[in-house]
Amino acid sequence: MTVTTTRPQAATATAARAEGLSKFYGVDEAAVWALDNVSVGLQEGQFTAIMGPSGSGKSTLLHMLAGLDRPSSGEVFLGDVELSSLNDKQLTMLRRDRIGFIFQSFNLLPTMTAAENIVLPLRIAGRKPDEHWVASIVETVGLSGRLGHRPAQLSGGQQQRVAAARALASKPEIVFADEPTGALDSSSSAELLGFLRNAVTELGQTVVMVTHDPTAASYADRVIFLADGQIVDEMHTPTADQVLDYMKRLGA
């Protein structure tokens, strides 16, 4: 395993970790091993990017870590909670209270305004949003003038920023994002990534992001490379060029 690390990170607590995680789809000969015995720890207060060729299992890994899907074997821990021990309701409440999500698209409920979408998980939980906190997020994401708009009235970039604000509004332990900039142009991407970076640096938020884009990965503290359902490498405080180089080699 080639370790292209520049600077090892100081050991901190893990926000989430996977142990011997496998996921396969289908049966017998037709079975596809989307994840093959993956073990990984995600540090608290870190921005982690997951990269790899298409079909390498990035999304699958993210879904397992985020409790959106159940593994075929292996264990996932969020803090010290083992996810497979939870029933559907407990898992759902865990997602609601302790995890934030940003998906590639269709992040928002079309019938609700931006403001309503931001506090959605809190409202689902029946909790009163922390007004100051929400206001400060809205401020940083730069959505102040758009709060009353519905998703259809927002641009793709604005929609993703609303999603990011939502992910942070409930002060989750960890935020998962699957190609959040996949459908955005470079300046919108930069805005969103800057915002996530900021959340990690200034608020100590833990963020895990799947991306295809080396530039996006360069915002992360650590990049994990996946290929054929296995972790093949990782990189710390990478630059876009380093990532690009590595990806080229991996793809080749």
């Binding site: 999304s59 879904h63 959106l68 899907d69 559907d88 309701k89 759902t92 409440m93 997602r95 609601r96 209270d97 999500f101 998906f103 590639q104 698209s105 269709f106 992040n107 928002l108 409920l109 079309p110 019938t111 609700m112 959605l120 998980p121 409202r123 689902i124 939980a125 029946g126 259809a152 939502r166 699957d178």
Partner: protein, 847 residues
């Protein structure tokens, strides 16, 4: 194209099942109605054929027209002396006089053998000639042949445990007599003659107890071998004295079955209306389904258009789908129809219309009418959505569009409001502004259509109002409200189906309630009676006039004023009349006689209602031509005009003596009793009750009891109508299930997203459930409001007919609304479950 259509239909099985069911139920009702009326018609035809099968000709009094009066006759009597001439006529093998009349059986304990649904209780003379009895056959014992013998119908004997040899009392128009039961009678294998009871006497006894000695109602004639009915009737016509006629047995059987069929037709039309309502409601679901199909497929349709399909092809494929669906659903409906016919018959039996039975008749006409109607309704309902499909532009194939809120158009609002406004105005003018009553119906229709057209605009405010308490339930409640509002057209057409059902049920409820209250008011305002002598069973046609004498003799009774009722031709058209006792009526009834008086009725007087007097410009002394089947033409003089319809609702009021002279002895329908000064009401009631022990066809009631009996019959009628309308409500609920299922399907991604960010399964279920409740309540509340309005308007429209009070049965209406909400919860069970099972990843994975 054809196979694509089929594949698409099968792809959404639930939708297929629900839309099929919604049409099939309506068609089933239609087919069931047709099957039932055909069956009943045939059964009666067979029955009358059987009963008169041995009679080749009948000699009877001529009548200006044939009136059906149950199984009895309304013709005048003929002299017994005519029999000799008939017997001597060429071709006559046997001839016997027949007599028919009121005869109420009692059981061995003296309790009346009452019929349900007001079926007649009749007595007949039993011919001694076996053949003349037709299919009236002795099932046990012997035929009556002396003055104290009676044979009774086998059903009464069985159900009331009347054994051969036992002694029973039989009540007549005249004095009650005691008989020994010597035989039981069946009718061509049937034990039951349409729910009636029958008593058979020998001819001489029958003349005494049912008619008048020396007179017959008719003469039944049996032909010699080889002489046809027509020949016989011809021969007889030549010899019968003036005023008599001879007709074939077939003619008489035909007349009887025609008369019954006319009554059945009314029943058939009534059921047909309910079937029509069910189909109408079902068409909303079809409309909705096709709208959703078009929305969901708009990309695909646009793509087809882009690659060159013409609008016509698109339209044709959708209509083909409707055609297939309609035909299949109608076929299912026809199959179910036979079951529905059975159910309806059971229901009719339960409410007291016992009908002769024969095997269920599924005529080819039933099949094709049902198929045609069901298919036509489906295709017509799909027409508008199909037209909309043709307007999908090719560019829409490229557009990523979430299926969603189409704003209802301004034109729609204008049309809806204009219709509702115009309809309301017309109705108000017919009620209060002197516009002809004929405009009331169209006005009502305009209001209903107007409300349906503008309902989409009411969806938002209504949902907001209904949804208010839902905010209490947190986010799922809030989202439920928003989801119900997001496609107002869909929500409104789903709710409209329920609205129609509720409108009908509630308006009937309001009308019935007003009727009941008016009846109470009428009793207290228009009569000053202390006690009422009524029929023993609520639907009984009347009781023997001999009851009046018995009541008059009871201690403490000051006066008894009897009244009767009948039908005759006035000015050449059939109309009902009331018959009263002129000597006493004025004191116990307040009919608001504004001109002349009831006491002046005499031998050829008539008191007419204010409305009839106004319409025909009648005044005291005007001549009214009346025609009775028994006695023909009578020139009646107007001797009074009365203003207060209510206790009496007929346009014509004559005296009991006139009725007896014109129509023969008839039953008394009710009598008003006043007490002697100082008499105790309770004691007198007891005394009358004792006096009535020998007259079990009548009972005494005080005002409260009388009111209660009357409300009871209104209530049972209302229950029957409500049950029929529930079918429409049931179909509407299927529509809600359908809409919810489709919405859930459309919102898969949203549901996945909600689940991903932490909505639990039970919260998702609650969300769908509350949406369903909001939709049902929109339908229920608008239906209740509209129903109350229409019910009140109907009551007001009949103000002149005596419905003076208006009353809204608040608990009942509230119950309907609550039930609708509960039904909404039930309708949501399936869709809520599938919504909660949506795969979380469906939202996350971009396809």
């Amino acid at each position: 194209m054809f196979s694509t259509t089929i594949r698409q239909m099968l792809a959404h099985k639930l939708r297929l099942v629900l839309t099929t069911a919604s049409i099939a139920l309506g068609v089933a009702f239609l087919a069931g109605t047709l099957v039932l009326t055909d069956t009943m018609g045939l059964a009666f035809e067979q029955l009358f054929g059987k009963v008169s099968s041995g009679t080749d000709a009948v000699v009877r009094a001529e009548a200006p027209y044939t009136a059906s009066d149950g199984v009895g006759t309304s013709r005048g009597p003929i002299p017994a002396s005519a029999l000799a001439a008939v017997k001597a006529t060429d071709g006559v093998r046997a001839a016997e006089g027949t007599v028919t009349g009121y005869a109420l059986l009692t059981d061995t304990k003296g309790k009346a053998v009452l019929t349900s649904g007001g079926a007649p209780t009749q007595g007949y003379s039993m011919p001694s000639d076996e053949k003349l009895r037709g299919d009236v056959e002795l099932m046990s014992g012997t035929a009556p042949d002396s003055a104290d013998e009676v044979a009774i119908d086998a059903t009464s004997a069985e159900e009331h445990h009347i054994k051969l040899g036992s002694s029973i009392k039989v009540l007549f128009s005249g004095p009650t007599r005691e008989f020994t039961v010597v035989g039981t009678v069946g009718f061509g294998g049937e034990k039951n003659l349409g729910g009636t009871t029958s008593a058979y006497f020998d001819t001489a006894t029958a003349q005494q107890v049912l008619g008048t000695p020396g007179q017959f109602d008719s003469i039944a004639v049996s032909a010699d071998q080889g002489v046809s009915q027509a020949e016989l009737a011809e021969n007889l016509s030549a010899v019968v004295p003036d005023g008599l006629e001879a007709v074939t047995g077939k003619t008489v059987a035909q007349e009887s079955s025609d008369a019954i069929k006319k009554d059945l037709k009314i029943v058939g039309i009534m059921f047909m209306i309910f079937a029509g309502i069910a189909l109408f409601v079902g068409s909303f679901i079809i409309w909705n389904t096709f709208t959703m199909i078009v929305t969901q497929r708009s990309r695909e349709i646009a793509l087809l258009r882009a690659v060159g399909s013409t609008r016509r092809q698109i339209m044709r494929s959708l209509l083909l789908e409707a055609l297939l669906l309609g035909t299949a659903a109608s076929a299912v409906g026809v199959a179910l129809g036979v079951g529905v016919a059975k159910g309806l018959k059971t229901l009719m039996d339960a409410v007291g219309f016992s009908l002769p039975s024969t095997s269920l008749q599924l005529e080819p006409r039933t099949i094709w009418v049902s198929l045609l109607v069901g298919t036509a309704v489906t295709v017509v309902a799909a027409l508008v959505p199909a037209r909309r499909a043709t307007k999908v532009l090719p560019v829409e194939a490229l557009r990523e569009s979430t299926p969603g809120a189409e704003k209802p158009s301004i034109r729609r609002a204008v049309i809806g409001v204009a219709l509702t406004g115009a309809g309301t105005t017309v109705m108000l003018f017919t009620l209060y502004g002197g516009l002809a009553k004929a405009f009331f119906g169209p006005g009502l229709l305009a209001v209903m259509v107007g409300v349906m057209v503008s309902l989409p605009f009411a969806v938002r405010p209504l949902a907001a109002m209904i949804g208010k308490p839902l905010s209490w339930r947190g986010l799922p409640g809030e989202l439920a409200k928003q989801n119900a509002m997001r496609n107002p057209r869909r929500t409104s057409s789903t709710a409209a189906a329920l609205m129609i059902g509720l409108t009908l049920v509630v308006s009937m409820g309001v009308f019935a309630s007003s009727l009941k209250h008016s009846f109470g008011d009428v009793i207290s305002d228009q009569t000053s009676a202390d006690l009422f002598v009524t029929t023993a069973s609520a639907q009984g046609a009347g009781y023997s006039p001999s009851v009046i004498g018995a009541v008059e003799d009871a201690p403490g009774v000051e006066q008894v004023s009897a009244s009767s009722w009948g039908e005759a031709h006035f000015l050449g058209a059939g109309s009902s009349y009331s018959a009263i006792d002129p000597a006493t009526a004025g004191k116990v009834m307040n009919l608001e006689v504004s001109k002349g008086s009831l006491a002046a009725l005499g031998r050829d007087g008539v008191v007419v209602s204010r409305s009839a007097a106004t319409q025909h410009k009648w005044d005291i002394g005007s001549i009214v031509n009346a025609e009775f089947p028994a006695t023909g033409q009578h020139r009646l003089h107007v001797v009074g005009v009365y203003d207060g319809k209510g206790w009496i609702g007929d346009n014509y009021v004559i005296s009991l003596d006139e009725q007896k002279a014109f129509a023969g002895q008839q039953l008394v329908t009710s009598a008003l009793v006043t007490l002697a000064a100082g008499a105790d009401k309770g004691e007198v009631e007891q005394a009358i009750a004792t006096a009535l022990a020998d007259h079990p066809d009548a009972r005494v009631q005080d005002q409260k009891e009388f009111e209660k009996t009357a409300s009871g019959s209104i209530d049972s009628l209302l229950q029957f109508v409500t049950m029929m309308l529930l079918l429409a409500v049931l179909i509407a609920l299927l529509g809600i299930v359908n809409t919810l299922a489709l919405s859930v399907f459309e919102r898969t991604r949203e549901l996945g997203l909600l689940r991903a960010v932490g909505m639990t399964k039970s919260q998702v279920r609650a969300m769908v459930r509350w949406e369903s409740v909001v939709i049902s309540l929109i339908g229920a509340l608008s239906g209740a409001a509209l129903g109350i309005g229409i019910g009140l308007a109907m009551s007001q429209a009949l103000k002149d007919e005596g419905i003076k009070a208006i009353s809204i049965p608040v608990p009942q209406v509230t119950m309907y609304v609550v039930l609708a909400a509960v039904a909404g919860v039930i309708a949501a069970i399936g869709p809520a479950r599938s919504a909660s099972r949506v795969d979380v990843l469906r939202a996350v994975v971009t396809d």
